[in-house]
Subunit: 336 residues, 2 copies
């Protein structure tokens, strides 16, 4: 079956193909009557402009890529993790509002150079630009992509000297709120359980925590290494309880580790918050299933995803862009 094209509509309407395009685009040059007639005819025929042809002609794909790193040999990627899925969720909406689509760009962790892969995707016009999230601090991707003049935005990574466009969180406000709350409850010391320092998030959260801690009346009970996993949260409990004093509390760099800590406390009949106060970070959905409700430092993922998309489109449109820093808030529940 032959595809319906502009020509067919043009013939039926007794105009030229270009007029059909103009009418469908609602060009202000055309009189209303023409627009109406052509539009009606197009609807009647069920004509839809071929987006493939339109993209070729305009040399734009109107697609934004979201990079997802696959583990070779598995059917598992990062999207099932709530950090990624929440960001993606809001990216889709934000892109939709600006007439872009989001495409997923899987790449193999130990495949050929990721940089090469993404360059190809841009050069071959698969996507107009790429959003990255969850890169490790040592990743060379942003620096290399910059060299090659590839439009991209990075979520949650350090924007080295503001050289590339990034979206980040500033937990300063939420930390301030948190310490204020803690002081109000007469806590004296606090443990800090760190995330995986490969990630910028872990480092910046720690820095922010320490900065605000200094100004507070609490003192540091200790820093415990973690890696964001539930088991590392569980394991941290042993160390914490070996050092614990009265009126101590713990801060976890994500809710997942906090949930591991909860598990330990349940198993050992330790009462939260009576025996120890607990605070998490992320406001994961799963955290709200915990009992007692986990107080947590929110990560504004929805805002970050939307901001990344809007920044990227601004780049396409050659508008001036600034790195975006989004403050987050502290959510108080029952865990301290």
């Amino acid at each position: 079956m032959k595809n319906l094209t502009r020509k067919d509509i043009a013939k039926a309407a007794g105009v030229s193909p270009s007029t059909v395009s103009r009418a469908l685009a609602g060009s202000p040059l055309l009189p209303k009557s023409t627009i109406e007639r052509v539009t009606e005819l197009a609807a009647k025929f069920g004509y839809r402009p071929n987006i493939l042809a339109s993209r070729l002609a305009s040399n734009r794909s109107f697609q934004i890529g979201f990079a997802v790193e696959l583990w070779p040999g598995t059917r598992r990627g990062p999207i099932r993790m709530s950090y990624y899925s929440t960001i993606l969720d809001s990216m889709v909406s934000a892109a939709f509002e600006r007439d872009y689509n989001v495409m997923l760009l899987p790449y193999l962790k130990d495949g050929k150079s990721a940089v090469e892969h993404f360059s190809n995707l841009i050069l071959s016009k698969h996507v107009d630009g790429i959003v990255f999230a969850g890169l490790t601090r040592e990743s060379n991707i942003p620096a290399e992509l910059l060299k090659r003049n590839i439009p991209f935005v990075v979520i949650g990574s350090e924007a080295v000297k503001n050289k590339f466009v990034s979206v980040n969180t500033d937990p300063h406000l939420s930390m301030t709120e948190m310490f204020k709350s803690l002081e109000g409850r007469n806590y004296r010391r606090i443990f800090f359980v760190e995330g995986d320092p490969e990630y910028y998030h872990a480092v910046s959260l720690r820095a922010s925590f320490m900065k605000v801690l200094e100004k507070s009346s609490l003192s540091l009970a200790g820093v415990i290494k973690g890696d964001y996993s539930r088991s590392s949260g569980y394991d941290s409990a042993g160390k914490i309880f070996s050092m614990k004093k009265k009126r101590d509390c713990v801060f976890f760099s994500n809710d997942r580790m906090a949930s591991g800590f909860y598990m330990y406390c349940h198993e050992h009949k330790i009462a939260i918050p009576d025996d120890i106060g607990v605070i998490g970070s992320d406001n994961d959905d799963s955290a709200s299933a915990l009992y007692p409700g986990l107080s947590t430092v929110e990560q504004p993922r929805v805002e970050m995803g939307a901001a990344a998309v809007n920044l990227l489109i601004d780049v396409f449109e050659r508008k001036p862009v600034q790195p975006v820093v989004i403050p987050n808030s502290f959510i108080e529940r029952k865990s301290f």
Copy 2:
């Protein structure tokens, strides 16, 4: 800056543009030497075929759409829910393996007809086919899309008379395992907390449950209405405990409702499993944070997502396809 095209490589290699295409596609017609020479030259120049042109010429987008229903006026879609993100995650991997890409297709819940929207997406060649998940039972989308000859696959919906391609779960095996376990622990009665019957999943799970229940030595303590939400699980507790007898247990149609029930039990100092046995369904990640560990009927989402993609590509390639039914398993933890 001008785009690098076949022509440039052709000129440099002293061949025609078509030969460049053939070489890059590894055509068996060409001698190895030509393929090598052209490939090297292309690499040296950093030439990447323009996928936009290729798609126009072949009239295929090599993209698979995943439909996501947006709530108007919010930046929230379904992808943040683990049901969707897990399916999507495996779809991306499966598509990658067969050289397809996954594109997200948002549509407004109360926007213009969804059917119209998806027809357009296909007619305009945005995507070659579409995967749906989480449709309600009364949705007219599958029937209408079928009429219009649009390639699609539906996950978790009833395949009415096998008329359209679908991927479903058969919980029969896991239910059998579950009841066997329950009998081994001397449970006498079981409550069934239903999901939202708008969804096929709720209905089919209930049917499967009842069928296996009949053959077991347990009796039905009652059916409680739920809607998959945590709060409906919490609310179910009141009804359950008003009817509860010794050696009763509860089955929840998803883990989320079970987590609401846990919340109630914690608040009311009811011990799981000593006072009541609990079983969930889905094997959500968040369920594994519950204490005591929630036994659950798994939903094979990873397999469903991958199967959907492979079915769809089979449809493109005009291979004969059959609806896929994937059995699931029972995961025993500490909640009964």
